[in-house]
Amino acid sequence: MADTAASLPPTAPASALRRLLRRKLALFGLAIIVLVVGGAVCAPWIAPFAPDEQLFDGLTLFGEPLPPGGQFLMGTDLLGRDLFTRMLYGARTSLIIGVAANGVALVIGTLVGVLAGFRRGWLGALLMRFTDLMMAFPALLLAICLAAIFQPSLWIVAMVIALVNWVQTARVVYTETTSLAEREFVAAEKTLGASQARILFRHILPHLVPTLIVWGTLGISVTVLLEATLSFLGVGVQPPTPSWGNIIFENQTYFQAAPWLVFIPGAAILLLALAFNLVGDALRDVLDPTQRGND
C-alpha cells in the first residue's frame, strides 16, 4: 500500500477517492447512506402499503399494534399503519431535514464565523454579538415562533431548523478562524503579497474542513430530533406525513407496550448519523496531507 502511494502521488482527487474506498468503516458508512437514500427515493415502489393507510389487519382484536415479523416487516403503529412503509417515507423527510437543513445551517454558520474571525473589527464584533444573542435565545421558542408565522410545510420546517442551528457552528468556526489567522504561515502569505481572498480561500478554509465535518455530522442527529420535537408540538411536519422523528414522538407513550415503535426509528437516526460520521471522519483523514501513508 505504501508503495502504490509513493509511486502515484499526483492527481489529488482521484487518489483521495481511492484511499477513501480502501477504508472499511468508510465503506460501511457509505453503504448505509446509499441504502437510506435509495429507500427514500424508491419508497413508492418498495413500500408494501400506502404510508397513511390504516390497515384492517394491522391491529389485534384488542386494538393493539402488531410486533415486527410476519406480514409486517417492522410491525404496525397505533393506528394500524405499516411501520416499514412509514420508515421509508419518513426517510425522505428526515434526509431533507438532516442533510439539507443541516447543510444550510453549516453554510450560514461557516460564513458568519469565517467573516467575523477573519475581518474582526466592528463587523466581526457585530456578527459575534448577534450570534451570542441567538445562542442565548431559546432555540425551540424561536423555532415555534417562526413555524407559527409561516404555514408549516417540509421546506419551511427545514428553513426554520437551519436558522436555529447555525449558531454553534458559527461560534466554533469563529474561534478556529481567529487562531488560524494568527498562524505564522498566514503572516508569511501576507509578506508574499497575497490578497485577503487568497489567504481566506487557499489557506484558511482548507484548515476548517475537519471542524466542519465534525459539526456537520453531529448536526444530523440534532436536526432530525429537533424536527421531531417541532412535530410533537404541532409546528413541524404535519401529520400524517411521516418523519423518523415524529414516529418516535407519536408512539413514545406506548414505549413499554410496543417498544419497536420507538426503537426502530431511533436506531435509524443513530445509524444515519453514525454513517455520515464514519464517512466524514475518513474524508477528513484522506484530505489531510499530513495523514498520508497512515492508511
Binding site: G193, R202, P289, T290
Partner: protein, 596 residues
Amino acid sequence: MTLAAQTMAAPVQGAAATPLLSVRDLTVSVRDRGVLRPLVEGLSFDLAAGETLAIAGESGSGKSITSLALMGLLPNNVAVTAGQALLDGTDLPRLPEAEMRGLRGAKVAMIFQEPMTSLNPVHRIGTQLIEAIRAHEPVPQRAARAAAIEALRRVRISEPERRMGQYPHELSGGMRQRVMIAMALAMRPALLIADEPTTALDVTVQREVLELLRDLQAETGTAIILITHDMGVVAETADRVVVMKAGQVVESGPVAQIFDAPAQPYTRDLLAAVPRLGAGAERGALLPPEAPVPVARLIDAQVRFDIGANFFGRPTHRVHAVEGVSFDIRPGETFGLVGESGCGKSTIAKALAGLVPHRGLIEVAGKKLSELTAQGRKEICRDVQMVFQDPMAALDPRMTVGEAVAEPLLIHGVGNAEERRDRAADLFQRVGLTPEQMTRYPHEFSGGQRQRICVARALALKPKLIICDESVSALDVSVQARVLALLEELQQEMGVSYLFISHDMAVVENVVDRLAVMYLGQIVEMGTRDQVFGDPRHPYTQRLLDAVPIPDPARRGRAHVRPAGEMPSPIRALGDAPARLALRDVGGGHLVAAAA
C-alpha cells in the same frame, strides 16, 4: 570552581568508588506497527556524586529519550528493552511505577526546557513548591512553607516571600526556570537531570542559570546530567561528555579530551560547525560601498501598541516595542540586529514587511511604506521577503512545497503555470533540493530542508532584501552552518541584502557586515562588525558578549560580569514615553548610546 570540579571528578577516573548512577547497555525502543525500533542503543556511562555529565547531540540523537527513561516517564509505546540503570543499586527502568513515584523528586529530579509549560499556570508559586515538598515529606504546612522560601532563596530569587504568592505568568522566563530549579532541588536529590535547561532563555539569563546550577552543585553534591545541543554550554559546565548521534554513543570522555582531541569524525564535524565568536574575521572586512539609494532605510521608526482599557474603553498603557530606531541597509550587505527577547528586533522585521503599522519613516527601495496604496503594498513585496524562525509554522501544512515555492509567482502573476513550475524547480535545485521533492508536503521534510524551502520561496521574486528573523535559531548546528553557507552563496550570486535578526551573538558575528544592538526598543550600539565585536563600547553589548558560552573548556575560568537584574518592561503608562537614547559617533561611524 574548576578546581572543585576536578577534585570531584577524580574518584570517577579511578572508577574504584561505586558510582551514584551506573548505566549499562541501555536500549530504549519504540513499538511502531508491531516492530521494535531502537531509539537509544547500548548506552553506558557512570556518574559520581557531585559530577556533571553532559549528553550532547543534535535532534533525534536520543538524548531526551534517555532522560525520560531514567525518570520512568517514557511514552506508552516506548520502553526500555535491554540494559540497566542502577541508581544506588536500584534499577530505575524496572522499578514499579508506585516506587518510582516516591523516588522522583526525592532522589531523582528533572528540569525541563520550557519552565512555563512545566509550572501549573493556575497555582501560585508557593502552593506548587509546598506541594512538591509535602508530597515526599509529611511536614506541617508551616515548615514546608519555610523550606519553600529557603529553596527560593537558594536559587537567588529576589524577594522570595513575595514570589510565593505570585503566579508563573507574573515571573520572567529566567525566574521561572529558577523556580523550577528550586522545586527540583528542594528535596536535595542525589541526581538532577536537566533537559536543555537554558535553551529557551536569553544568553545573559542562561549565563546566570548555569552559574547558579554550578554553585548549587558545589553546595549540595548533587550529580547532574545535562542534556543539551549547545557545545558552548557543554564546554562551560560539564566534567565529562557523551556525544550521541541517532541513538548511538559516538564518543565519550572528559570534557577537555572531547574538545581538544576528538577521536571521531562526527565529533570533529560537530565542533567545527559550532559558531564561535572571533571566527567572523575570515569573512573579510570589505564592506559594500554606500549606495545613493539604500535597500531599506529607517528614520526614527516607532512601533507602539496600545493595551488595556479603562472604563470608557480608552487604552491605559502603551507597549513601546520600537522607539526611534534609525538605520539603513546597503545593497548587497548583511545587516544584523541583535538583542534579547522583547528588545523589539522582530517587531522591526514585521514593520519592514508591513505586518504591523509604524510611525516615523520606513523606506524600501526609495519608497515610503506609509504612503503606499494597496497595489503599491503588493509591489513592494517583490523587493522585501521574509524567512521566519520556524519553517514548519511558516509553510501551509496542506500545500505541497512545490505549490508553496511557486505561490509568490502566482500571486504576482509571473509567467504561466508551466513557467512557474520550471522556475520553482530551478529554485529547488538552487537551495540544494531536487525537483522530484516538489509534490511532497512540508511534514515530510527535516527542519533544515524546510528552511531551505522557505529560502527558495523568499527568492522566487528575486527580492532586493530578505529579512531573516531568527531563521537558523531552531536548527541543529551542523544544519545551521549549511543554511548559513547557502545564504552567503546566494548573496554573492544575486547581490541580495539580508537583514539578519538573531539572539545568537556568535552566529551574527560570523555572517554580518554591520550590525545594531538593541535594548528595550532602542539601538544602543551600531557599527561595522569589527567595530562592535572588536571594541564593544556600550555596557549592554559588553554584557551580551561576555555571556556567550564559549566552546572551549580551557577558557572556563574567566571572570564573568555580575547579573544585571531583570530587563525593565517596555509597557508604560500612556503619556509616559521612555527617554530617547542619543547615539554618539566614537569614530568611523561606530555609534554608541550614552550609558544611562
